[in-house]
Amino acid sequence: MNYANMFNYHIMSPVVGKAVLRYQRWQYENKIRRSMQKNNDKLLSPPLLSTARMSEMLANNYFQGRYTEGVKKVAWFSSGCPIEILQALDFFIYTPDNHGAMCGAKRVAVEYCEEAESHGYSRDICSYARTDIGSFLLKKTPIGKIPKPDIIVVCSNICQTIIHWYQAMGVYYNAPVFIIDTPFVYDKAEEHQIAYVKAQLEELIPVAERIAGKKMSYRRLQEICRAGKECSNLWMEVLLRAKHRPAPITGFDAFILMGPVVAMRGEKESLAFYEMVLREIDERINNGVAAIKTEKYRILWDNLPIWYRINWLSKTLAAHGIAAVISNYAYQWAEPALFMNADNPIEGMAQAYTHTILNRSTGYKLQHMKQMVDDFRLDGVLLHSDRSCKPYSLGQIDQRMKLIHDMGISGLILECDHNDSRVFSEEQVSNRIKAFAEMLG
């Protein structure tokens, strides 16, 4: 037992840490309020006040993570992974993908990628993986300290790449890696595929129990599944509000706000958070506030964000009257709402995590995009061809052609990378967006 960490985890973090973070949130909220009053940005509305709350929540989580050693067992999770069993066993949950995204947004990813590359990791592999591995090798992170994993659980439902990445981390941290393999759904998930995922979830329980040193309560698992479903439902509500014209939030806002549903779904504060976001969005709708003041053309953003240029992209698009109102990537964490079932948690989880959009065919993704074009009354689709994320990017060439042909809308493929800013050319992207705007007009 680590008494210093016990003290920090149970006293420092919830009392002192929370107070400091609350103060920072208050400062951030004031800053947002001031820009709301000034309202002098011609293109974008100020961020939602909830953004400050979200930063507080995530920072608090990371802060606690520093002191988990000897206090709480730590589970690392991939972002699309069934989180519920480990939540039911009270693990401290840490999501390396979120860390990767944060490093991208804070523009430290390239430094970390370069470190990984100097250790032999190719520039052609996923830049999240390079960021995370580089962060470990450099012993540097914007969150202060990364909690050491007692178990690493990784799910293949977003890609196969992530298994390689997490297995490498398992070697570096000398931690056991548990793979949950979700067969790719080409058409619809077959019975034996779901049975396979269920069997693996059942295999996870005793392994996790052994590490946690306690038995899992089935009732607690049910509660978490119920709350997780509710959280995903709320998240879906948030995203669907963008159907409103002008859209009160954009797909880019969604990238910023999705942290809790990815890493903390099923927790009470996440539910309260998304209720708060919804209230704020509804207020915007009632007051006729548009996220993009110049909204003229509405588009779908396909694939991962370009983390290090979110604001620049928002502005550049807005300057041409383009609002990226929805992102199918952020929608991924709304989908569990459709399948989760607290009465039959294992079956519900198997269904939910096998049917994530990234685990489904290129044809399904196209249908999904078409549906969004109709539902959100879109004029075009911007497909981010992400150099180091093959699973999401393969299929876009045909999807674009089909969208143009079948829906009569415009489509642009933009080749960049989610975390590696070295492949980003501002001039080229500006020109492409300009040409896209001309097509839309």
């Binding site: 993986a129 297995q167 490498a168 793979i179 034996h192 049975a195 693996q200 295999e203 065919s361 299929g395």
Partner: protein, 356 residues
């Protein structure tokens, strides 16, 4: 030893009433195809396709195997192919299968098989069912519904070919042929009938191979162009063992029993640790260290197809593991083509000099 060409084999298959299945890398239940009336011909590129027509459907950061195969399988000459099977080997082949089914829609049916990767008991149970589903789909196309006994009979001959393949692959020094001939023979398993392969194996000249200089382990997906082996020999080294996806990672064990699906599922989950099946790093490196020790390899040449993520992830820790073994590793990456760039040759040459 004259190895029949792909054309000869296609003719033979046609004469014997087999349909042709074009199969993408790497692992699949060969016996099932055969029992359902298909002869599998594997497609690893092919390297001679020079143009990048594949980019019509795939971004340029997709590996050459997928790009070239996508082009190759949609051309006129592919008309003699009756079915395309795409195993779920990696994210890129997953994308290829999906794009073929949803957008390219070739005239042939496109089938898939998803390999389990949990590395636990449930893998075999799942794969047994996945193989059954595949069998059902193949039967629908060919009209041949094999009984368990039919499949077991085919497995017997395939297992014999597998046994010979494994035996020869592990005894490079016992065959008096060049590296190129040795690996050309092993790779003929990609398209020969099992019987032909067995027959041909009897013609492999035994006796001490004339192997000069340091021995290498060659690792990677596929050694294309095969001239690579001549160049290694020219620089004064030779290959003693391989860890190639097209060769030694396909050393399949035979499992006996009445249920052919279960035996095949066991077989396809017990190969040497393979990157594309997300083998745990430790077991893969332990296995490779053992191979290096057994073969006496003095260096490792990793010859990678550009953009092949499964391979790329393992390389840094592979290099570290080999260093612990006192065995340096050279990583080479390039596009698949019929010629090896001079720069690559210089690096291999320098590597061999250091080892010598």
């Amino acid at each position: 030893m004259i190895i029949p060409t792909r054309k000869d084999v296609m003719q033979k298959a046609a004469n014997q009433g087999y349909k042709i299945a074009a199969v993408m890398p790497i692992h699949y239940p060969r016996a099932i195809l055969r029992a359902c009336g298909f002869h599998p011909m594997e497609v690893w590129g092919p390297p001679f396709i020079n143009n990048r027509e594949g980019t019509q459907h795939f971004p340029e950061y997709t590996c050459d195997i997928v790009q070239k195969a996508a082009y190759f399988l949609t051309q006129e000459h592919a008309a003699s192919i009756d079915v395309i099977l795409i195993p779920h080997t990696c994210d890129s082949l997953q994308g290829m299968a999906s794009i073929f089914m949803d957008f390219i829609k070739p005239k042939q049916p496109v089938l898939k098989i998803y390999h389990p990767r949990s590395h636990r008991a449930s893998d075999v149970i799942y794969l047994e069912k996945e193989i059954k589903v595949l069998t059902g789909k193949l039967s629908e196309i060919s009209g041949i519904k094999p009984t368990d006994n039919d499949i077991l009979a085919v497995m017997e001959i395939e297992n014999e070919a597998n046994r010979i393949f494994a035996d020869i692959a592990q005894r490079r020094e016992d065959f008096a042929v060049t590296d190129r001939t040795f690996y050309t023979f092993l790779r003929s398993r990609e398209y020969l009938f099992a019987e032909q392969f067995i027959e041909l194996s009897r013609e492999m000249p035994t006796g001490k191979a004339d192997l000069k200089g340091p021995g290498l382990m060659i690792s990677g997906i596929v050694p294309e162009p095969m001239d690579l082996f001549d160049q290694i020999n020219r620089f004064g080294a030779h290959v003693v063992i391989d860890d190639l996806a097209c060769c030694s990672r396909r050393i399949y064990q035979a499992f006996n029993g009445d249920n052919p699906y279960k035996c095949l599922a066991q077989q396809l989950t017990s190969m040497p640790p393979d990157t594309t099946l997300s083998a745990p790093y430790k077991s893969r490196f332990e296995y490779l260290k053992g191979q290096v020790r057994k073969s006496g390899a003095r260096g490792v040449l990793v010859y990678n197809v550009k953009f092949c993520e499964p391979e790329l992830f393992y390389v840094p820790l592979f290099e570290k593991a080999m260093k612990e073994e006192g065995c340096p590793l050279l990583f080479i990456e390039g596009e698949m083509s019929t010629v090896i760039p001079g720069q690559v040759l210089n690096r291999i040459n320098a590597f061999v000099e250091v080892l010598s």
